[in-house]
Point group: C2
Chain length 156, copies 2
């Protein structure tokens, strides 16, 4: 074997060498972390029969009553079409309601019902426990804030 051939073989990239271990990959770790946090969320809210998107929609309406469906969809990062069933469910449970506006009769303004207001209060309490567990995992409020900053950076 020539010197050339030896060098070629020595320098040939091997698949097993150029491929990283999965747990050094940002996207992989990010997904696993997200699944773990959502798992805790799901367990926390199983009794209340509340899913992440429903939680977020209620939280948005609570903070900004009168928001339009398209605004909620935008904030949630889903298509308006996918908010229809979600809002149908919240209305059927008597937690939120659509109201026609006088200014633009194509759109709805969204509000919590009285029942929805109460629901959101207990929802917020359950959420606090969940969030505190996640903050504890991270090592406290300070670390948690730094973590959120990093998530914002990586979200681009």
């Amino acid at each position: 074997m020539s010197q050339e051939a030896i060098r070629e073989k020595r320098d040939a990239a091997r698949a097993e060498d150029v491929v990283p271990p999965l747990d050094t990959i940002i996207g992989y770790k990010l997904r696993r972390a997200q699944l773990a946090v959502f798992q805790d969320f799901a367990e926390s809210f199983a009794r209340m029969k509340l899913r992440p998107a429903e939680f977020s929609a209620l939280a948005l309406i609570a903070r900004q009553p009168g928001s339009k469906q398209s605004e909620i969809a935008e904030a949630l990062g889903v298509k308006p079409a996918n908010l229809v069933a979600l809002m149908d469910g919240l209305e059927k449970r008597g937690l939120a309601e659509r109201r026609k506006t006088d200014t633009d009769r194509r759109s709805y303004s969204l509000y919590l019902t009285a029942k929805g207001e109460k629901f959101v209060l207990s929802m917020a309490s359950v959420w606090r426990d969940h969030e505190n567990r996640m903050i504890e995992r991270l090592g406290g409020e300070g670390e948690s804030r730094r973590f959120i900053e990093m998530l914002e950076k990586v979200a681009g």
Copy 2:
């Protein structure tokens, strides 16, 4: 209105006050960040027609040839049943193959084909560019490592 009633009203928790803004919530930011990273990943690998789970499976087989399907499923965090179609696809494309073992003829050992080896080399190069973009967003290697540590903590 009695002093009592006034105090009650003053102290009554209002939904809009106890509910946090979405962008202070760890789970919400985590999901948005994960979607953004996967978006970049999807764009990077659109030409190669490679999805995250396929990337991960190929990477695992490249690093540990002879792995069993159940082991890959475990490492990927999916059910064995859902790995069948994925492996079918990789085999049909000629990138990986199932081989029966003598020791346990129920299971398959998984290997890259020669074509798969080459594919993984170019896949690794595309991945490097993607990963470097994410590291740059985070502010460098050091920050990236700290970020991964935090993701591990929050994954529990």
